[in-house]
Symmetry: C2
Protein backbone atom coordinates (compact mmCIF):
# COMPACT_ATOMS: atom_id res chain seq x y z
CA UNK A 1 0.00 0.00 0.00
CA UNK A 2 1.32 3.46 -0.82
CA UNK A 3 1.91 5.78 2.08
CA UNK A 4 -0.62 8.60 2.08
CA UNK A 5 -0.29 11.89 3.92
CA UNK A 6 -3.62 13.66 3.81
CA UNK A 7 -3.52 17.27 2.69
CA UNK A 8 -6.48 19.56 2.25
CA UNK A 9 -5.89 20.17 -1.45
CA UNK A 10 -7.40 23.64 -1.09
CA UNK A 11 -5.98 26.91 -2.23
CA UNK A 12 -2.79 27.07 -4.18
CA UNK A 13 -2.91 24.19 -6.66
CA UNK A 14 -2.20 25.55 -10.15
CA UNK A 15 -4.89 25.24 -12.79
CA UNK A 16 -2.46 23.39 -15.07
CA UNK A 17 -1.94 20.75 -12.38
CA UNK A 18 -5.68 20.14 -12.13
CA UNK A 19 -5.88 19.73 -15.92
CA UNK A 20 -2.99 17.25 -15.86
CA UNK A 21 -4.57 15.28 -13.00
CA UNK A 22 -7.64 14.73 -15.19
CA UNK A 23 -5.34 13.67 -18.04
CA UNK A 24 -3.41 11.29 -15.76
CA UNK A 25 -6.72 9.80 -14.62
CA UNK A 26 -7.73 9.01 -18.20
CA UNK A 27 -4.38 7.28 -18.83
CA UNK A 28 -4.50 5.36 -15.53
CA UNK A 29 -8.05 4.15 -16.14
CA UNK A 30 -7.05 2.95 -19.60
CA UNK A 31 -4.05 1.06 -18.20
CA UNK A 32 -6.16 -0.34 -15.35
CA UNK A 33 -8.69 -1.65 -17.89
CA UNK A 34 -5.95 -3.74 -19.57
CA UNK A 35 -4.72 -5.20 -16.27
CA UNK A 36 -1.83 -2.90 -15.25
CA UNK A 37 -1.43 -2.71 -11.44
CA UNK A 38 1.69 -0.53 -10.89
CA UNK A 39 3.07 2.52 -12.69
CA UNK A 40 6.19 4.63 -12.19
CA UNK A 41 6.17 8.40 -12.54
CA UNK A 42 8.47 7.94 -15.55
CA UNK A 43 5.94 5.69 -17.28
CA UNK A 44 3.03 8.00 -16.47
CA UNK A 45 5.06 10.98 -17.66
CA UNK A 46 5.80 9.26 -20.97
CA UNK A 47 2.12 8.46 -21.54
CA UNK A 48 1.08 12.02 -20.63
CA UNK A 49 3.88 13.60 -22.72
CA UNK A 50 5.23 15.63 -19.77
CA UNK A 51 8.44 15.18 -17.80
CA UNK A 52 8.48 12.88 -14.79
CA UNK A 53 9.53 15.66 -12.41
CA UNK A 54 6.25 17.39 -13.24
CA UNK A 55 4.24 14.21 -12.60
CA UNK A 56 5.84 13.83 -9.16
CA UNK A 57 5.32 17.54 -8.43
CA UNK A 58 1.64 17.38 -9.50
CA UNK A 59 0.92 14.39 -7.30
CA UNK A 60 2.89 15.81 -4.36
CA UNK A 61 0.30 18.59 -3.91
CA UNK A 62 -2.01 16.00 -2.45
CA UNK A 63 0.39 13.94 -0.35
CA UNK A 64 2.59 10.93 -0.96
CA UNK A 65 1.02 8.28 -3.16
CA UNK A 66 4.09 6.49 -4.44
CA UNK A 67 6.87 4.40 -2.99
CA UNK A 68 10.35 5.26 -4.28
CA UNK A 69 11.62 2.58 -6.65
CA UNK A 70 8.30 0.72 -6.68
CA UNK A 71 6.02 3.29 -8.27
CA UNK A 72 2.36 3.94 -7.73
CA UNK A 73 -0.35 1.39 -7.06
CA UNK A 74 -2.67 2.06 -9.97
CA UNK A 75 -5.95 1.40 -8.19
CA UNK A 76 -5.08 3.62 -5.20
CA UNK A 77 -3.86 6.39 -7.48
CA UNK A 78 -7.06 6.28 -9.54
CA UNK A 79 -9.17 6.39 -6.37
CA UNK A 80 -7.18 9.32 -4.96
CA UNK A 81 -7.30 11.38 -8.16
CA UNK A 82 -11.03 10.70 -8.46
CA UNK A 83 -11.50 11.90 -4.88
CA UNK A 84 -9.37 15.01 -5.48
CA UNK A 85 -11.36 15.86 -8.62
CA UNK A 86 -14.66 15.36 -6.79
CA UNK A 87 -15.60 12.38 -8.97
CA UNK A 88 -16.58 10.18 -6.01
CA UNK A 89 -20.11 11.64 -6.32
CA UNK A 90 -22.42 12.20 -9.28
CA UNK A 91 -22.56 15.61 -10.95
CA UNK A 92 -25.86 16.79 -12.38
CA UNK A 93 -25.59 18.32 -15.83
CA UNK A 94 -27.85 20.19 -18.20
CA UNK A 95 -27.07 20.62 -21.89
CA UNK A 96 -28.17 23.79 -23.64
CA UNK A 97 -28.22 23.60 -27.43
CA UNK A 98 -29.46 20.38 -28.98
CA UNK A 99 -27.86 20.85 -32.41
CA UNK A 100 -25.22 18.63 -33.99
CA UNK A 101 -22.63 19.32 -31.28
CA UNK A 102 -25.16 18.84 -28.48
CA UNK A 103 -26.30 15.53 -29.92
CA UNK A 104 -22.69 14.41 -30.40
CA UNK A 105 -22.00 15.20 -26.72
CA UNK A 106 -25.12 13.30 -25.62
CA UNK A 107 -23.92 10.18 -27.40
CA UNK A 108 -20.46 10.50 -25.81
CA UNK A 109 -20.23 7.61 -23.34
CA UNK A 110 -17.29 8.98 -21.34
CA UNK A 111 -19.41 11.53 -19.47
CA UNK A 112 -21.78 9.05 -17.85
CA UNK A 113 -18.93 6.66 -17.02
CA UNK A 114 -17.28 9.35 -14.88
CA UNK A 115 -20.51 10.17 -13.00
CA UNK A 116 -21.66 13.14 -15.07
CA UNK A 117 -25.42 12.63 -15.28
CA UNK A 118 -27.28 14.59 -17.94
CA UNK A 119 -30.67 15.41 -16.42
CA UNK A 120 -31.99 18.16 -18.69
CA UNK A 121 -31.85 19.31 -22.33
CA UNK A 122 -32.67 22.86 -23.36
CA UNK A 123 -32.97 24.75 -26.63
CA UNK A 124 -34.64 27.87 -27.95
CA UNK A 125 -35.81 26.37 -31.26
CA UNK A 126 -39.60 25.69 -31.19
CA UNK A 127 -39.03 22.86 -33.70
CA UNK A 128 -36.83 21.06 -31.16
CA UNK A 129 -38.69 21.84 -27.92
CA UNK A 130 -40.86 18.87 -26.95
CA UNK A 131 -38.91 16.36 -29.01
CA UNK A 132 -36.97 13.58 -27.29
CA UNK A 133 -33.30 12.65 -27.40
CA UNK A 134 -32.76 9.32 -25.68
CA UNK A 135 -34.73 9.38 -22.42
CA UNK A 136 -34.86 13.15 -22.20
CA UNK A 137 -37.26 15.70 -23.60
CA UNK A 138 -35.93 18.98 -25.00
CA UNK A 139 -37.28 21.92 -22.96
CA UNK A 140 -37.45 25.62 -23.64
CA UNK A 141 -34.48 27.55 -22.26
CA UNK A 142 -37.09 29.84 -20.71
CA UNK A 143 -38.30 26.95 -18.53
CA UNK A 144 -34.87 26.48 -16.93
CA UNK A 145 -35.85 28.13 -13.65
CA UNK A 146 -38.98 25.97 -13.31
CA UNK A 147 -36.89 22.89 -14.10
CA UNK A 148 -34.40 23.61 -11.33
CA UNK A 149 -37.19 24.33 -8.85
CA UNK A 150 -38.87 21.04 -9.70
CA UNK A 151 -35.83 18.83 -10.22
CA UNK A 152 -33.20 20.15 -7.82
CA UNK A 153 -29.94 22.04 -8.33
CA UNK A 154 -27.65 21.59 -11.32
CA UNK A 155 -23.87 21.37 -10.95
CA UNK A 156 -22.68 21.95 -14.51
CA UNK A 157 -24.17 23.51 -17.64
CA UNK A 158 -22.81 22.53 -21.05
CA UNK A 159 -23.21 25.34 -23.58
CA UNK A 160 -23.43 24.06 -27.18
CA UNK A 161 -25.18 27.03 -28.78
CA UNK A 162 -23.95 29.50 -31.44
CA UNK A 163 -21.55 32.23 -30.33
CA UNK A 164 -24.17 34.98 -30.43
CA UNK A 165 -26.34 33.35 -27.75
CA UNK A 166 -23.65 31.79 -25.53
CA UNK A 167 -23.41 34.68 -23.05
CA UNK A 168 -27.23 34.83 -22.78
CA UNK A 169 -27.32 31.12 -21.96
CA UNK A 170 -24.43 31.49 -19.48
CA UNK A 171 -26.33 34.26 -17.67
CA UNK A 172 -29.46 32.08 -17.49
CA UNK A 173 -27.48 29.16 -16.05
CA UNK A 174 -25.69 31.32 -13.48
CA UNK A 175 -29.03 32.90 -12.49
CA UNK A 176 -30.43 29.47 -11.50
CA UNK A 177 -27.36 28.66 -9.41
CA UNK A 178 -25.19 26.63 -11.80
CA UNK A 179 -21.56 27.04 -10.68
CA UNK A 180 -19.72 25.22 -13.47
CA UNK A 181 -19.90 25.95 -17.22
CA UNK A 182 -18.37 24.03 -20.11
CA UNK A 183 -18.56 26.30 -23.14
CA UNK A 184 -18.17 25.08 -26.73
CA UNK A 185 -19.12 28.40 -28.35
CA UNK A 186 -16.01 30.10 -29.77
CA UNK A 187 -16.26 33.20 -27.56
CA UNK A 188 -15.00 33.82 -24.03
CA UNK A 189 -17.75 34.10 -21.39
CA UNK A 190 -18.00 36.63 -18.60
CA UNK A 191 -19.12 34.98 -15.38
CA UNK A 192 -19.07 35.88 -11.65
CA UNK A 193 -15.92 34.84 -9.75
CA UNK A 194 -17.75 32.06 -7.87
CA UNK A 195 -18.46 30.32 -11.22
CA UNK A 196 -15.86 28.15 -12.98
CA UNK A 197 -16.13 28.42 -16.76
CA UNK A 198 -14.01 26.44 -19.22
CA UNK A 199 -14.15 27.11 -22.94
CA UNK A 200 -13.18 24.29 -25.29
CA UNK A 201 -11.19 25.58 -28.24
CA UNK A 202 -11.06 23.02 -31.02
CA UNK A 203 -8.77 25.09 -33.24
CA UNK A 204 -5.92 24.92 -30.71
CA UNK A 205 -5.48 21.21 -31.33
CA UNK A 206 -5.18 21.69 -35.09
CA UNK A 207 -2.54 24.35 -34.49
CA UNK A 208 -0.49 21.99 -32.34
CA UNK A 209 -0.64 19.41 -35.15
CA UNK A 210 0.37 22.11 -37.61
CA UNK A 211 3.47 22.83 -35.48
CA UNK A 212 4.58 19.21 -35.54
CA UNK A 213 3.96 18.91 -39.29
CA UNK A 214 6.44 21.75 -39.69
CA UNK A 215 9.05 20.76 -37.11
CA UNK A 216 9.21 16.98 -37.33
CA UNK B 1 9.58 47.17 -32.87
CA UNK B 2 10.51 44.25 -30.64
CA UNK B 3 14.00 42.88 -31.00
CA UNK B 4 13.93 39.43 -32.55
CA UNK B 5 16.69 36.86 -32.41
CA UNK B 6 15.89 34.11 -34.87
CA UNK B 7 16.13 30.60 -33.55
CA UNK B 8 15.36 27.44 -35.43
CA UNK B 9 12.59 26.30 -33.10
CA UNK B 10 13.47 22.68 -33.85
CA UNK B 11 14.04 19.89 -31.45
CA UNK B 12 13.67 20.45 -27.77
CA UNK B 13 10.51 22.52 -27.37
CA UNK B 14 8.19 20.77 -24.90
CA UNK B 15 4.80 19.63 -26.12
CA UNK B 16 3.13 21.67 -23.35
CA UNK B 17 4.81 24.84 -24.67
CA UNK B 18 3.41 24.22 -28.16
CA UNK B 19 -0.08 23.78 -26.68
CA UNK B 20 0.26 27.02 -24.71
CA UNK B 21 1.51 28.90 -27.79
CA UNK B 22 -1.73 27.97 -29.57
CA UNK B 23 -3.68 29.12 -26.51
CA UNK B 24 -1.74 32.40 -26.35
CA UNK B 25 -2.48 32.94 -30.04
CA UNK B 26 -6.24 32.61 -29.46
CA UNK B 27 -6.06 35.16 -26.62
CA UNK B 28 -3.89 37.56 -28.61
CA UNK B 29 -6.16 37.41 -31.66
CA UNK B 30 -9.17 38.13 -29.48
CA UNK B 31 -7.42 41.14 -27.88
CA UNK B 32 -6.20 42.33 -31.29
CA UNK B 33 -9.78 42.21 -32.61
CA UNK B 34 -10.88 44.68 -29.90
CA UNK B 35 -8.04 47.11 -30.59
CA UNK B 36 -5.31 46.13 -28.10
CA UNK B 37 -1.80 46.86 -29.45
CA UNK B 38 0.56 45.96 -26.54
CA UNK B 39 0.50 43.23 -23.91
CA UNK B 40 2.80 42.41 -20.98
CA UNK B 41 3.71 38.84 -20.08
CA UNK B 42 1.80 39.40 -16.82
CA UNK B 43 -1.38 40.29 -18.69
CA UNK B 44 -1.01 37.39 -21.12
CA UNK B 45 -0.32 35.05 -18.19
CA UNK B 46 -3.47 36.18 -16.40
CA UNK B 47 -5.61 35.63 -19.51
CA UNK B 48 -4.05 32.19 -20.09
CA UNK B 49 -4.29 31.22 -16.38
CA UNK B 50 -0.57 30.38 -16.16
CA UNK B 51 2.21 32.24 -14.36
CA UNK B 52 4.09 35.00 -16.14
CA UNK B 53 7.45 33.26 -15.74
CA UNK B 54 6.04 30.42 -17.85
CA UNK B 55 4.83 32.84 -20.54
CA UNK B 56 8.29 34.40 -20.79
CA UNK B 57 9.91 30.95 -20.80
CA UNK B 58 7.56 29.69 -23.54
CA UNK B 59 8.23 32.67 -25.78
CA UNK B 60 11.98 32.59 -25.11
CA UNK B 61 12.29 29.28 -26.99
CA UNK B 62 11.85 31.22 -30.19
CA UNK B 63 13.91 34.32 -29.48
CA UNK B 64 13.21 37.67 -27.88
CA UNK B 65 9.88 39.17 -28.81
CA UNK B 66 9.34 41.55 -25.92
CA UNK B 67 10.98 44.67 -24.60
CA UNK B 68 11.44 44.72 -20.81
CA UNK B 69 8.99 47.15 -19.17
CA UNK B 70 7.14 47.79 -22.45
CA UNK B 71 5.72 44.37 -23.17
CA UNK B 72 5.01 42.70 -26.47
CA UNK B 73 3.75 44.31 -29.64
CA UNK B 74 0.55 42.34 -30.20
CA UNK B 75 0.66 42.26 -33.99
CA UNK B 76 4.31 41.10 -34.13
CA UNK B 77 3.68 38.47 -31.48
CA UNK B 78 0.65 37.10 -33.36
CA UNK B 79 2.66 36.98 -36.59
CA UNK B 80 5.57 35.20 -34.91
CA UNK B 81 3.42 32.61 -33.15
CA UNK B 82 1.53 31.96 -36.39
CA UNK B 83 4.85 31.43 -38.17
CA UNK B 84 6.13 29.14 -35.41
CA UNK B 85 2.94 27.06 -35.54
CA UNK B 86 3.12 26.83 -39.33
CA UNK B 87 -0.08 28.83 -39.78
CA UNK B 88 1.41 31.13 -42.41
CA UNK B 89 0.29 28.59 -45.02
CA UNK B 90 -2.98 26.74 -45.59
CA UNK B 91 -3.38 23.20 -44.25
CA UNK B 92 -5.48 20.75 -46.24
CA UNK B 93 -7.87 18.71 -44.11
CA UNK B 94 -10.18 15.77 -44.61
CA UNK B 95 -12.94 14.88 -42.20
CA UNK B 96 -13.84 11.23 -41.70
CA UNK B 97 -17.22 10.62 -40.05
CA UNK B 98 -20.07 12.88 -41.08
CA UNK B 99 -22.29 12.27 -38.04
CA UNK B 100 -23.38 14.86 -35.49
CA UNK B 101 -19.84 15.60 -34.34
CA UNK B 102 -18.50 15.80 -37.89
CA UNK B 103 -21.26 18.21 -38.91
CA UNK B 104 -20.68 20.30 -35.79
CA UNK B 105 -16.98 20.53 -36.70
CA UNK B 106 -17.81 21.51 -40.29
CA UNK B 107 -19.91 24.43 -39.07
CA UNK B 108 -17.14 25.56 -36.72
CA UNK B 109 -15.83 28.80 -38.21
CA UNK B 110 -12.55 28.91 -36.29
CA UNK B 111 -10.91 26.25 -38.47
CA UNK B 112 -11.21 28.11 -41.78
CA UNK B 113 -10.18 31.40 -40.16
CA UNK B 114 -6.83 29.90 -39.16
CA UNK B 115 -6.16 28.48 -42.63
CA UNK B 116 -7.42 24.93 -42.10
CA UNK B 117 -9.18 24.15 -45.38
CA UNK B 118 -11.55 21.19 -45.39
CA UNK B 119 -11.25 19.64 -48.84
CA UNK B 120 -12.83 16.22 -48.41
CA UNK B 121 -15.55 14.44 -46.40
CA UNK B 122 -15.61 10.69 -45.93
CA UNK B 123 -17.94 8.19 -44.32
CA UNK B 124 -18.70 4.49 -44.52
CA UNK B 125 -22.50 4.81 -44.34
CA UNK B 126 -24.08 4.24 -47.79
CA UNK B 127 -26.96 6.53 -46.75
CA UNK B 128 -24.51 9.41 -46.35
CA UNK B 129 -22.15 8.75 -49.27
CA UNK B 130 -23.10 10.98 -52.21
CA UNK B 131 -24.97 13.53 -50.07
CA UNK B 132 -23.64 17.07 -49.75
CA UNK B 133 -22.65 19.10 -46.71
CA UNK B 134 -22.04 22.71 -47.69
CA UNK B 135 -19.92 22.67 -50.88
CA UNK B 136 -18.58 19.18 -50.32
CA UNK B 137 -19.87 15.77 -51.25
CA UNK B 138 -19.52 12.89 -48.80
CA UNK B 139 -17.32 10.16 -50.30
CA UNK B 140 -16.76 6.54 -49.39
CA UNK B 141 -13.82 5.98 -47.04
CA UNK B 142 -12.71 3.35 -49.56
CA UNK B 143 -12.21 6.08 -52.18
CA UNK B 144 -9.69 7.94 -50.00
CA UNK B 145 -6.68 6.78 -52.01
CA UNK B 146 -8.27 7.83 -55.32
CA UNK B 147 -9.17 11.18 -53.78
CA UNK B 148 -5.58 11.90 -52.73
CA UNK B 149 -4.25 10.83 -56.15
CA UNK B 150 -6.69 13.16 -57.88
CA UNK B 151 -6.69 16.08 -55.45
CA UNK B 152 -3.20 16.18 -54.00
CA UNK B 153 -1.80 15.42 -50.55
CA UNK B 154 -3.69 15.96 -47.29
CA UNK B 155 -2.02 17.47 -44.22
CA UNK B 156 -4.46 16.58 -41.46
CA UNK B 157 -7.23 14.01 -41.01
CA UNK B 158 -9.98 14.65 -38.48
CA UNK B 159 -11.43 11.41 -37.10
CA UNK B 160 -15.03 11.78 -35.93
CA UNK B 161 -16.13 8.16 -36.12
CA UNK B 162 -17.18 5.73 -33.35
CA UNK B 163 -14.43 4.21 -31.20
CA UNK B 164 -14.61 0.79 -32.87
CA UNK B 165 -13.63 2.15 -36.31
CA UNK B 166 -11.20 4.92 -35.29
CA UNK B 167 -8.01 2.83 -35.63
CA UNK B 168 -9.17 1.51 -39.03
CA UNK B 169 -9.70 5.08 -40.23
CA UNK B 170 -6.35 6.18 -38.78
CA UNK B 171 -4.60 3.38 -40.67
CA UNK B 172 -6.32 4.41 -43.93
CA UNK B 173 -5.27 8.04 -43.46
CA UNK B 174 -1.68 7.15 -42.61
CA UNK B 175 -1.55 4.82 -45.65
CA UNK B 176 -2.33 7.73 -48.01
CA UNK B 177 0.38 9.90 -46.46
CA UNK B 178 -1.55 11.98 -43.91
CA UNK B 179 0.93 13.01 -41.18
CA UNK B 180 -1.39 14.72 -38.70
CA UNK B 181 -4.46 13.22 -37.00
CA UNK B 182 -7.01 14.89 -34.76
CA UNK B 183 -8.98 12.13 -33.08
CA UNK B 184 -12.32 12.64 -31.35
CA UNK B 185 -13.02 8.96 -30.78
CA UNK B 186 -12.52 8.09 -27.10
CA UNK B 187 -9.71 5.59 -27.68
CA UNK B 188 -5.96 6.16 -28.05
CA UNK B 189 -4.62 5.55 -31.57
CA UNK B 190 -1.48 3.68 -32.55
CA UNK B 191 0.36 5.51 -35.33
CA UNK B 192 3.89 5.46 -36.78
CA UNK B 193 6.40 7.83 -35.12
CA UNK B 194 6.43 10.18 -38.14
CA UNK B 195 2.70 10.88 -37.58
CA UNK B 196 1.46 13.35 -34.96
CA UNK B 197 -1.84 12.27 -33.44
CA UNK B 198 -3.82 14.26 -30.89
CA UNK B 199 -6.87 12.85 -29.17
CA UNK B 200 -9.45 15.29 -27.83
CA UNK B 201 -10.83 14.13 -24.51
CA UNK B 202 -14.03 15.96 -23.67
CA UNK B 203 -14.42 14.36 -20.24
CA UNK B 204 -11.20 15.96 -18.96
CA UNK B 205 -12.78 19.40 -19.03
CA UNK B 206 -15.78 18.28 -16.98
CA UNK B 207 -13.41 16.80 -14.42
CA UNK B 208 -11.52 20.09 -14.10
CA UNK B 209 -14.84 21.85 -13.48
CA UNK B 210 -15.73 19.18 -10.93
CA UNK B 211 -12.49 19.94 -9.05
CA UNK B 212 -13.29 23.64 -8.81
CA UNK B 213 -16.88 22.95 -7.72
CA UNK B 214 -15.37 21.04 -4.79
CA UNK B 215 -12.48 23.33 -3.89
CA UNK B 216 -13.83 26.81 -4.42
Amino acid sequence: MPRKTEKSGKGDIPYSTVVRLAQYLRILERLHAVGTTKISSNELAKEAKVNSFLVRKDLSYFGEFGVRGVGYDLKSLIREIRRILGLNRDRRIVLVGVGHLGRALLSYKGFAEEGFVTCGLFDSDPAKIGSSVGDLQVRSIFSLEDFVQGNGPIDIGIIAVPAFSAQFVANKLVAVGVKGLLNFAPIPLTVPTHVISISVDLTTNLEVISYYLLHR
